[in-house]
Symmetry: C2
Subunit: 146 residues, 2 copies
């Protein structure tokens, strides 16, 4: 059974609840929300394989996703967590595989419409540049302290 389609405003609220978008202005999230494609996946579905070229990111609405290299589990992600976001932005190869560890409701955002959005709305590009800078600053802090 399919879940009902979410309203745009519900998608915006989901994006806003993600740590990577916590500081992102709502008008940018409102541009991004229509690109969120709803997916229902069964347990054990392979979402992507290590080494593949990535062209989308995922948000977990409900369920668990295992990030792994072969049999070695690197992380188990749960509701409202994001994965594959660097491949959305730069289309490099996936550094690990992702498999559904339970039945999952996911959102997928594909690279092509995302880059069309960036090309037509420079403030979205600025928003993402800012998000990436914040993550780099946080990483730098961590490595100084680490």
């Amino acid at each position: 059974m399919q879940t009902d389609k979410l309203l745009l405003v519900e998608k915006v609220l989901i994006l806003k609840s993600l740590s990577i978008f916590r500081e992102t202005p709502e008008n940018i999230l409102a541009d991004l929300a229509p690109l969120m494609e709803e997916l229902e996946c069964e347990r054990n579905t392979l979402l992507f394989h290590e080494g593949e070229i990535g062209d989308c990111m995922y948000v977990i609405q409900q369920g668990e996703v295992r990030i792994h290299k072969g049999d070695i589990t690197l992380a188990v992600l749960k509701d409202r967590e994001v994965f594959g976001e660097l491949s959305l932005l730069d289309a490099e190869t996936r550094s690990a595989s992702a498999t559904c560890a339970s039945d999952c409701s996911l959102f997928r955002i594909d690279q092509e419409p995302f880059y069309e959005l960036i090309d037509s709305r420079p403030e979205v590009a600025r928003g993402f540049i800012k998000i990436l800078c914040q993550r780099l600053r946080a990483q730098n802090e961590k490595s100084v302290k680490g």
Copy 2:
């Protein structure tokens, strides 16, 4: 005595020689090069102070710049090194101070013309998003290995 003004192509070559722009296409660097303002600074010039809001990045053409928190030196940067680049992109506060440790020839790129460029040339925004992703991937690799 002022040095002669550099040609655009020389500025592009300088940008290309920087590790952060090594993979950046020349057409993007050619858009960025006219924003490089040449500066001659004497030894002991304070370029910026920890905690200030940053709005520009610097490239060292010749000389040495000390990055420090008060009296504690974090790094001494030399020819063809870059500093302050995160503040160019996100206008957050400077995490440390920068002082010329010798007479220096520098380039400064200011945020306002940089963001005007990003707004009019989405491929420049894409290029910077890619650069930031590469740096995050490199940082992630380092913290996994570290």
